[in-house]
Every structure is written in structure tokens, then in C-alpha cells.
């Protein structure tokens, strides 16, 4: 999936939601009145936890333990066990404030399973449980030490195969198009002297401008000029129209407009309109000549 902007300068034109039911809330609730803690893995080394404590639970805690409650996340290593609250391999505490409501935690060991208790730590060291999270297995880090007899492979061969599989490119080459494109954009911007968007100088801004040529860079005074031609008109909206023998699509109101770069030249522009039933036609001819000369006075 690639869903990004076509350019770095685009902003959404989405306005405020057209809400035809103004009495309905348009905001996300801050909390849902739950007392819970959730744990999510982010990568082999980090997990994320968020929690919520119901207001009445909170005030009961304050009533019982006072205003200065020390909230902690107790992180348990529960690898390969059915955790009952006291049989963890080990645990460590992270002190959090009531305001945090979420925390990124760095686990001390890879390839383990973890669970957290949200609780209170009392001055005497006692831990009062508020809520227990789900258990997560962290994403496996590194190649496995286990081999399958039926599919056995020599260590050296396996190392070579892992290399052939491009292990060192993981996370480098799989990055997203949008990021690649944004980096390219930033690089381009840093290299471009002109700011985007380009000044809408004219339709002929495609040509190298006088200001770009070495000759004029030496001098501070410069002039730049070019020409373009607009051929326009109107006829019956259902008529068919040709310009120089080529058919031209009419706007719904019968008008038309052609615009093009005009170099030094002499051109004939026949315009012909035919009525829808083919019985009538009108023709207009133009002859246009452009001839340029330069006069540089120093």
C-alpha cells in the first residue's frame, strides 16, 4: 500500500465534518471507565503498555492509601508458565505517575514472554494490585538454535544460506515508498534554487530562460521575453469545429480556446465550423508571423 501525497506541499482540504446531527458528540472519550492495563509488543526489545483506572477505584485507593500514591508497573517474566501472580521467573518495577497512562518498556532479555501488573507500591514495600495485563511473547530475535533432524543443516551452510537470504538487508530495503519519495523530495528541495511551486511565469517557462544563460549571469541587468498564441472563439454548441484540419472539442457553451508556444515562424491557421446537420459551415483564416531580433547595448 502506498498512500501518500503526490507532493510535499499538499494539505488536505477537508473541512470540519458536515455534521447534520450537532447534538451528537464529536470527540473521543478520554477514558471508558475501565480499570485495566494492556501490553503490546513493538519489537524484540520494546513493549508498550497503556492503562486506565476507574475514577471510583481511584478515589477508594486514595481514601485507603492517601494522596501520595506511588504507582508502579510490575513487569513479570512469565516465559512458558501459567502465571498465577507469584510464579514468575523474575520481575522488575517501573515507577509511573497517574498522569502517564502509557509507557514504553525496554525488556532486559530477548525471546521471553511478559506480563505486567499495574499497582501501588507502599512505603513498607507491599504491592497492591490494581489490574493485570494480557501476556505477550516478544518477536523472536536472531536465528534459532533449534534444528530439526529431518531438515538438518550444517552450521556453516546455514550461515551461508542466511547470508544468501539477504538478512543484512532487512529493514533497509523493505522501507516504504512514501519514505523513499519524501527523502527524494527533501533532497530535491535542498538542491533546487527555485522554491516550489514554480512561479507561473508563463506557458513557455519550459524553455531555458535568459536568466539561466551564462551570458546574463555576468550582468545584473537582464530581459526575458517570449510569445505564445491563443486562438479562441465560439460557435453553436452542437457544431463541429476544426482548427488546421484537426478536430477541436468545444466547451458546453460552444466556446473554444487553444494556446500554444509561438516560435519565430509564419503560420496559417484555418478555422472551420460545421453545423450539426452538416448543411452549413463557416470558415475564418488567420495568418500569424513572429520574427525576433535582439539588440544588446552595454
Amino acid at each position: 500500500m502506498t498512500k501518500t501525497v503526490s507532493s510535499g506541499t499538499v494539505t488536505s482540504h477537508m473541512q470540519a465534518n458536515k455534521n447534520i446531527f450537532p447534538n451528537l458528540s464529536n470527540d473521543l472519550p478520554k477514558n471508558y471507565g475501565d480499570t485495566k492495563v494492556v501490553l503490546l509488543p513493538r519489537d524484540p526489545f520494546w513493549a508498550y503498555s497503556y492503562w486506565e483506572i476507574n475514577e471510583s477505584v481511584k478515589s477508594n485507593l486514595i481514601k485507603e492509601y492517601g494522596q501520595n500514591i506511588l504507582y508502579v508497573l510490575r513487569v513479570y517474566d512469565v516465559t512458558d508458565i501459567n502465571f498465577n501472580g507469584s510464579n514468575a521467573h523474575k520481575f522488575f518495577d517501573i515507577t509511573v505517575t497517574e498522569l502517564n497512562e502509557n509507557w514504553y518498556l525496554n525488556v532486559p532479555e530477548v525471546n521471553r514472554d511478559w506480563c505486567v501488573d499495574l499497582g501501588i507500591k507502599l512505603a513498607d514495600g507491599r504491592f497492591i494490585l490494581i489490574a493485570r495485563s494480557n501476556t505477550i511473547s516478544m518477536p523472536h530475535h536472531g536465528v534459532s538454535t533449534v534444528t530439526d533432524e529431518q531438515w538438518a543443516i550444517l552450521q556453516k551452510e546455514f550461515e551461508r544460506l542466511v547470508k544468501l537470504s539477504g538478512i543484512e538487508r532487512i529493514g533497509k530495503s523493505s522501507f516504504d515508498v512514501s519514505r523513499l519519495m519524501r527523502e527524494r523530495w527533501e533532497q530535491l528541495i535542498s538542491m533546487s534554487s527555485a522554491q516550489m511551486p514554480f512561479s507561473p511565469k508563463s506557458i513557455s517557462s519550459f524553455r531555458p530562460t535568459a536568466a539561466d544563460s551564462p551570458e546574463t549571469k555576468l550582468k545584473s541587468f537582464w530581459l526575458q521575453a517570449d510569445t505564445e498564441l491563443i486562438v479562441y472563439g465560439t460557435t453553436e454548441s452542437d457544431a463541429s469545429l476544426t482548427v488546421e484540419g484537426k478536430s477541436v472539442k468545444l466547451n458546453p457553451d460552444g466556446s473554444f480556446s487553444l494556446r500554444f508556444y509561438l516560435p519565430d515562424c509564419e503560420i496559417k491557421i484555418p478555422i472551420e465550423a460545421k453545423s450539426a446537420d452538416g448543411t452549413m459551415s463557416k470558415t475564418i483564416h488567420f495568418e500569424v508571423k513572429r520574427e525576433s531580433s535582439k539588440n544588446n547595448k552595454i
Binding site: 534459532s144 523493505s174 516504504d176 527524494r184
Partner: protein, 529 residues
């Protein structure tokens, strides 16, 4: 002659569901229109031509449920045709404008030709590209896999029933759209954690794809690395990504799309030309944006105003040359692996489909040459689909793959960091509520309640699209992604309260059914399994 190995090309075609009937003209809908014109039609049209010319090829594509639902949506079809017609108008004007500008005239003619061809293909399929892709699948050249219903990021869900619903609803939608059952699935962002395969098994899906380290870090060790699929303990097969082919295309420095002859994405007539001239082709707000008509080539590491004119013939030659290079490298890789492994390797190349055409303009030309050259010019490797491979080689190693994704750094950080972690509290709560009401009301026959429950499911699913978290991380269009997350959660919560309080507001329900109409035949009971 028996090939020395196999090559499986997988293109992941996905866009988030963006459809705003409440506006006449909506910027983010362009993602879909640009995808249609620049990627989906060129691919489809190429497949059709290859079949017409009798050239055998194989390609595997995910067409995700949100994308499939957009392709089938009448409003978006109409708007897409409007978009194409406007571009055709612009290119006709461009033919005139550039008549005395030879360095741009050929490119203008190329656009006119391509856009008219795109319109022809689009109209041929009644503006519904699903019809076209289904034909190619039925012809046996293309294998379409499904994806999570709204590209939900499965490892960050905590309710198994919500995970299952992402698969079950996707599967049902696939059956409606493609008239058969999906054999495989592209897990959104290739995000996997052990256990997901069990759900796939129960939903009758036989294979999925993994980033390379999902296989390489699996337990026990994978004997053939990523060059043969493995079976998970559930019996579902997993195909690992080959990083060499990934690197050839993706690498910022040596990747194919960065060639100086290729079209420069960032110079567009929407910015370059006279304002009054391009205004009719911009959005209603009149802000200069990309139109898709671009006249310059990448040129080299130079600033935007030092870019040189694009030459369609040079670009085409380059794509042919690169296709030859890709083929040569596959031949070498397959020969080498075959000797080393003592059996036929499988090289699985996985890319975002939108890379081809939308980001890398010449990408479809590259694929076209690659399919043709692969067919005519070599016999070392043979293109294959995952299903064909598993039929041919049913005996594979069993292992438990490692949790992984194909996102930056290989795990879940792109979808879980300080820019987007706030969404999970709301997504989890909505999932918990959905599972609760689905169970409580599963036997109801009250039509209004059933409609409400179905819409609750749609709102939850749309909120779960991994795209929103992704966009918040990438930092462009963030407001839109935040708003979409918020809107769907607020709509969900509002409907949920109305259902519980027996105060369903039919006007409100009707309004959001009209706006969020993904999965027209959804059944909320998917949340009871």
C-alpha cells in the same frame, strides 16, 4: 527442459477506503484515481495483451478488500471516469500547446495515447476493474489473494475474535467479488505473530507471505532459508521474501526506478504551467497540485530546475535493459541456489503494486519486458504462483515463523510509536464492545438493530485500517488520518450507545451507512466466532 528453479512475483495492491459522497470533489479520493490510471489499468491491460499474444506468465496479486470495494463502488467509478476525462482534455490541449516545442511534443502525445487507452480499458470493463482482474485469474495467469478486511494490523490486536473477523469478512467479500474462495492471503504489512496461522487455517486459507526474517528467525532453523516455503504448525504455508530482488528494485541508490532516463515525479504541469491554464484541472480549492502530466526526467542529482526533458523512447529502452538485467540476475541466482540447495529454489519477489506505474512510471513497461523475456529468452527459471508451487512440492519443512512485518526495522514500530499509540486504547475498546454486542444480539430479528450492528462492524473495521497509523508516522496528510480514526470511533461509540439505550436514530444510521458503505453485505455475526 526442467527448470532449475521458480520465481514467484507478488504485487500487493492496496489503498485505504476513501470515499466521500458528502463532497463533490475530494482530494484524497485521488489516491484511488491515480492508482487506477497509473497502476491498475496498465497492469490489467498488460495482462490482457500477454494473453492475447499467447505469452505464458504468472503473477500473484493481492487486491485488498478496501481496494476491491472501491473498484466496485458506482460513485467512485463515476468520479474516476470524470477524472480520466479531465486528464484526456488536458492532454488534448497539451498536444496543441507543445506543437512547436519538439522536446515536449512526443511526451504530450504519449500521455494522450495512454490516457485514451486507459479510458477504453476502463469502459470496456464497465468501469469496474474487478471484472478485468477476475478474467485474468480465471485464465490461470493471475492468482489473486485476499488481505485483512480493512488492512488491519493483526499483531496489535488483543481480541482474537476481532482478528478472526478481519479474515472472515475479507474471505466472504473475496468470494462475492471473485466468485471463488481465496487460497492465500497477504497479511497487512506482512505483520505476523505465531497463532495467526491457526486462525487462517480455521478460515480455510492455505498460505500467506512473510518478510525474510519471519522465516530466517523461525524455530527450528529453516533448512532452505527463504528459498522454499515452510508449513506453520497449523499446516498453513508461509512464503518468505527474497531480499535480493527486493533490493534491486527498492534500493535508493542502485534501484531501477532511480535511473536518470526515468520520469521525474516532482515536476508536474500542475506547478509548472500558467495558473489559468491548469486551473480547470485542479481541485475546487484551486491549489496547485500534481496532475500526473510531467515532462521531465530524473536527469541526475540536480535541482528541479536543472531537470532535462523526458524522452519516452529512451525511458522505454532503459526499462527493457533493466528487465534483461533482472532476468540475468534471476538466472544466476537460481543456478547458484540450485547447486547449493540440491533442489529447485523458489525466489519470492514482493512489492507494493503501486510502485509500478504510480511511483515508478515505467514500472509496468519493465514488467511487460520482464514477462516477455522470461518467456522467450531463458529456460533456467519458471514463473509460478504459490498454489502451483505447493501442488508441485507438497513436502516442506514445518516450523514456527518469527513475529515480524515488512515495515521499517522489521517489526511493529511504524504502527506503534508516539505519533499513533493513542489509537489502540480506542480500537481495543471498540473491538471489545463489538464482540459483546454481536454475542448479545446474534439472534435478533429486529431489522433496525441488525443494520446498526452491521454498521458498527463497518465503523470498527474502517477505524482498524493500518493506513491511518502508518500515515501518522510518515508525517504527511496526518490530519486526514487522525480525522478518519476519530470519525469512525466516534460513529462507533455513538451507535453503540444508541443500541444499548434502545434509542437508535435512524437518520444518523442512514447517514453513516451512506458514507461508510464498505462491505455492502457484511454480517456482524463474524464477531461471534
Amino acid at each position: 527442459m526442467k527448470p532449475k528453479g521458480y520465481w514467484c512475483l507478488v504485487l500487493h495492491a492496496h489503498l485505504p477506503f476513501v470515499r466521500h459522497p458528502e463532497y463533490n470533489d475530494f482530494l484524497e479520493e485521488d489516491w484511488f484515481f491515480e492508482g487506477v490510471v497509473e497502476t491498475y489499468i496498465p497492469l490489467l491491460s498488460m495482462y490482457e495483451k500477454l494473453i492475447d499474444e499467447g505469452i505464458d506468465f504468472r503473477v500473484t496479486m493481492s487486491i485488498t478488500p478496501p481496494l476491491a470495494n472501491m473498484m466496485c463502488d458506482e460513485l467512485l467509478q463515476k468520479r474516476c471516469l470524470r477524472y480520466i476525462n479531465k486528464l484526456v482534455d488536458l492532454t488534448e490541449k497539451e498536444i496543441w500547446r507543445t506543437r512547436y516545442l519538439p522536446e515536449f511534443h512526443e511526451t504530450a502525445k504519449m500521455y494522450e495515447k495512454k490516457l485514451k487507452e486507459a479510458r477504453r480499458v476502463f469502459e470496456k470493463h464497465n468501469c469496474n476493474l474487478i471484472n478485468g482482474f477476475r478474467n485474468i485469474q480465471d485464465a490461470g495467469k493471475l492468482e489473486i489473494v485476499t488481505c485483512c478486511a480493512t488492512h488491519g494490523f493483526l499483531p496489535l490486536k488483543i481480541h482474537e475474535k476481532a482478528t478472526r473477523a478481519q479474515i472472515r469478512i475479507a474471505r466472504k467479500d473475496y468470494e462475492e467479488k471473485f466468485g471463488r474462495s481465496p487460497r492465500g492471503i497477504w497479511l497487512a504489512e506482512c505483520a505476523y505473530t505465531p497463532g495467526i496461522d491457526q486462525i487462517l487455517k480455521e478460515e480455510n486459507i492455505s498460505y500467506f507471505f512473510l518478510e525474510a526474517h519471519g522465516i530466517l528467525y523461525g524455530t527450528p532453523r529453516p533448512k532452505y532459508g527463504v528459498f522454499a516455503p515452510v508449513y506453520c504448525p497449523s499446516g498453513v504455508a508461509a512464503f518468505g521474501r527474497d531480499m535480493e530482488t527486493a533490493h534491486q528494485v527498492w534500493s535508493a541508490d542502485i534501484g531501477y526506478p532511480g535511473d536518470p532516463n526515468y520520469r521525474e515525479f516532482y515536476r508536474d504541469v500542475g506547478y509548472d504551467l500558467d495558473y489559468d491554464y491548469v486551473k480547470p484541472y485542479l481541485h475546487e480549492d484551486g491549489v496547485r497540485r500534481n496532475t500526473g502530466i510531467k515532462y521531465y526526467r530524473i536527469t541526475g542529482k540536480v535541482g528541479l530546475n536543472a531537470k532535462q526533458p523526458y524522452n519516452p523512447a529512451w525511458a522505454l529502452n532503459k526499462s527493457a535493459e533493466q528487465a534483461g538485467n533482472f532476468m540475468f540476475n534471476r538466472e544466476q541466482q537460481v543456478k547458484h541456489l540450485n547447486e547449493y540447495m540440491g533442489k529447485e529454489p523458489l525466489v519470492t519477489s514482493m512489492y507494493d503494486a503501486e510502485l509500478y506505474g504510480h511511483w515508478w512510471y515505467e514500472g509496468p513497461d519493465f514488467l511487460n519486458y520482464l514477462f516477455r523475456k522470461t518467456h522467450f529468452d531463458q529456460n533456467v527459471y519458471k514463473p509460478i504462483t504459490p498454489s502451483e508451487y505447493l501442488e508441485m512440492f507438497p513436502k516442506n519443512q514445518v516450523l514456527t515463523p518469527a513475529a515480524s512485518s515488512w515495515g521499517d526495522k522489521g517489526y511493529y514500530e511504524v504502527w506503534l510509536n508516539s505519533t499513533n499509540d493513542w489509537i489502540y486504547k480506542h480500537l481495543h475498546k471498540a473491538a471489545e464492545r463489538m464482540i459483546d454486542v454481536a454475542e448479545r444480539y446474534k439472534n435478533t430479528s429486529d431489522q433496525l438493530k441488525i443494520r446498526t450492528l452491521n454498521q458498527l462492524a463497518r465503523e470498527l473495521l474502517l477505524a482498524q485500517s493500518s493506513d491511518w497509523a502508518f500515515i501518522m508516522t510518515t508525517g504527511t496528510m496526518v490530519e486526514y488520518a487522525q480525522k478518519r480514526t476519530k470519525d469512525h470511533i466516534v460513529r462507533f461509540n455513538t451507535l453503540y450507545d444508541q443500541l444499548n439505550n434502545n434509542t437508535i436514530n435512524e437518520g444518523f444510521l442512514g447517514e453513516i451507512e451512506w458514507k461508510d458503505n464498505i462491505f455492502p453485505n457484511i454480517d456482524f455475526k463474524a464477531y461471534t466466532f
